[in-house]
């Protein structure tokens, strides 16, 4: 019901590939969900304990008022948590990464759905980031940068960074992308490939001439 109201795309993102080519689409690691939930629980305990202390102070000051305000306090304590919890799951469920041999597509977002497509030919650098809490969960963030126009900051909507959060196999993915980047002969700035071999190759007319010489020699 929610997904139809929010018009969430039903299918994972896709990339056009030649039949038989490698394609994989996946969510971040399950541990990323636990990582998000850890922050949720810390915030949950922090805010709700704060609210409880506040209510306790009010109770000692005026019992009647505190009892009247008990219900609003409970709503204030519970509703944002439920919303936040649902948002975490939605956030996780809407994060998709699609990789092929040639390109990467990331989708994320709940209110605004962002989809970012890049080809590995254009990748300038890849970095892997991991904070202390991420270290504990054994997940990393892989940021793939192209030479595209600047970002408006970390996690901005339309930058040159494809951010893959919560990966448990970040090193593998970095290696895969970098091997693709190494194979590329150009700077990834849209340069045309130089067809050097075309100039040294035989033209069709020259080939015909060669064949004639061969046949003439054979007939000698």
């Amino acid at each position: 019901m929610l997904s139809s109201l929010f018009k969430v795309p039903e299918h994972p993102p896709n990339l056009p590939v030649e039949p038989g080519d490698f394609i994989a689409s996946f969510h971040p690691s399950e541990r990323y969900l636990s990582y998000l939930k850890l922050y949720f629980w810390i915030l949950f305990v922090f805010i709700d304990v704060g609210l409880l202390i506040g209510w306790g102070a009010l109770y000692s000051a005026s019992q009647d008022l505190a009892l009247w305000l008990a219900l609003p306090f409970i709503i204030l304590a519970i509703v944002p948590d439920i919303v936040a919890y649902v948002m975490i799951h939605l956030r996780y469920d809407t994060m998709w990464y699609v990789m092929t041999d040639r390109s990467l597509r990331c989708r994320r977002g709940i209110w605004i759905i962002f989809e970012h497509t890049i080809t590995f030919e254009n990748v300038q650098n890849v970095h892997v980031k991991r904070g202390p809490v991420q270290y504990f969960f054994d997940i990393s963030t892989v940021v793939v940068e192209t030479a595209g126009a600047e970002t408006g900051g970390e996690g901005q909507s339309v930058g040159n960074q494809a951010i893959m959060e919560g990966l448990s196999n970040a090193d593998e993915i970095r290696e895969m992308i970098m091997s693709r980047v190494d194979m590329s002969k150009t700077a990834g700035l849209g340069d045309e490939r130089i067809h050097a071999q075309n100039t040294t190759a035989w033209s069709v007319a020259e080939m015909d001439a060669l064949r004639e010489i061969r046949d003439a020699v054979r007939d000698l």
Binding site: P16, I112, H116, E121, N122, T146, A147, G190, R193
Partner: protein, 166 residues
């Protein structure tokens, strides 16, 4: 408007104007100030997708035209907010390797952006094997080598025969 062949796209979808109106309404009292520039933008927005690149023009008093070639595209984005999703619209910011912040070209008002995105993606560098002509060239080169070897062998045979005959 048919979006089956992106090359036929010249105008944004009409529902873009509805979207602009909704966006302007959010600004309440500033509605006219927000809406009029957007209306002009909608009226004057033109796209042209040709074989090598895409151009986008808009503006009445301050006319602007952006042209970029498909091969130089670095990033293709598709962003859809909730209102746009309800209306079936999408924005497609496209980036090249220029230094300006923000998208180089912000294609707006596209219904069903997937065919257009696939169209652009297929023309981006690295989206498909580019080595076609090189492979062809080496194939021809190998043929030439074969023929040359055959000529050499034939000449050797002739030389052998010439030695043996007298």
């Amino acid at each position: 408007m048919s979006s089956s062949d992106p090359r036929t796209i010249t105008r944004p979808d009409n529902s873009l104007l509805t979207y602009y109106t909704l966006v302007s309404l959010i600004s309440l009292v500033f509605f006219p100030f927000v809406f009029i520039p957007l209306y002009v933008r909608f009226r004057t927005l033109r796209y042209r997708f040709d074989d090598d690149g895409v151009s986008m023009t808009w503006g009445l008093l301050f006319h602007k035209e952006v042209y970029l070639t498909y091969r130089r595209i670095q990033d293709i984005h598709v962003t859809r907010n909730l209102i746009e999703r309800w209306m079936g619209l999408a924005k497609m910011p496209i980036q090249t390797a220029s230094g300006t912040s923000g998208a180089t070209m912000n294609i707006e008002g596209i219904r069903n952006p997937e065919p257009l995105r696939d169209f652009l993606y297929a023309r981006m560098r690295g989206a498909r094997a580019d080595q076609g002509s090189e492979i062809h060239a080496t194939a021809v080169g190998n043929d030439a080598l074969t023929i040359l070897t055959e000529i050499r062998d034939s000449l050797r045979e002739i030389k052998q025969k010439g030695h043996n005959a007298p």
